[in-house]
Symmetry: C5
Subunit: 95 residues, 5 copies
């Protein structure tokens, strides 16, 4: 999983039937210091009630579809948690 | 999922039997400001009727095959929605 | 899927039993202008009869194994079509 | 799999029910010389008892969910081993 | 799949039970000219008897687990062949 921050929301009227009723958020993967990581923002399904500006846990790939009510949905990214704390230590030669 | 823009179309006469009758579009992943992201364009199955210049939701990986009529198709990218609005906020240190 | 160009071939005598009898080609992902994209060449299973210098459709990940006669083969890349035409439009701010 | 080093820990009160009771660590993929690799740190499930500063084996993708007690968990990264030794040779033109 | 070169070996006493008895090698993805590609080395399961310095076929993702005796192992990379020859042609604008 990755650390992300919710930055926006996407709406789409014409879409795959499996996506009807889902909440699609825009989340930017970030580094531990809070800055955007080089990867582009993702469109992620949200089922934990995340809001703009919150730090979240982003999951990618086929397992992301498991959070939707329809496990056969064509979904490859989901928000699976809202981060309370992110603790990390400075390790010689790494951070 | 990623934000993409439809830029073209691919035709292939000799192809895997599972692809016969599918519509293959070229879509470029883009950043929130509308510019192309560093990743290369993808060839994606379209089942929502997307056209050139439209912003779309791109899904990748094994789940993409779920949008085709044949769920066993060797497909790793699909257009699953046409974006109406893309709202995002400027977040300190991120955008 | 990605646009690739076939550049070579790989032979391996000692290999996983599932690969016996498969044709392994080297394909370089390319950009729309025909130049190599930053990603490295891939070793892909070919079942559509592609030859050196042909532009092809490359599929990646677990779905690639679906083109082999043995669907349980440990294969993550395949050539699933030979591209006849690749049409794309110049879109403001993208290409 | 990748070589990583455990750098921290994540807590999340609001989360997907499948994550309740799991231990979520922050791990940074590293290069053979011990320096951080360009990829961002990952949030990984730990079931082998890894601690801060330890070098670990990181697995990614859908298979990572196999280490959890609930194999349907939406998990894409896990720590599957604590590295005792990492031996490598200098190969001409590679390292 | 990718072209890699075996550069070392990893040992881990504390590990997921599925990994007991497996041989874990370090392999560096390389380019066609033999130089290391930008991606980091991977820890891969070996079942074909590869040795240090040999060029190998690396497979990634969930299909890699298919080479192990336990198909439910949390494994995302495997060596599936030892390369005898790697032939490629110089193609205008690509190599």
């Amino acid at each position: 999983m990755e650390v992300g921050i919710v930055v926006g929301r996407v709406t789409a009227t014409r879409k795959d039937p499996h996506l009807v009723g889902t909440k699609l958020l825009l989340a930017q993967p970030i580094q531990l210091n809070g800055e955007a990581s080089p990867s582009s923002p993702v469109i992620a399904i949200d089922t934990v009630g995340a809001g703009i500006g919150e730090k979240v846990i982003l999951v990618s790939g086929s397992v992301a579809a498991r959070v939707t009510s329809n496990k056969d949905a064509p979904v490859d990214a989901a928000i699976i948690g809202i981060i309370d704390t992110l603790e990390y230590e400075k390790i010689e030669g790494v951070y």
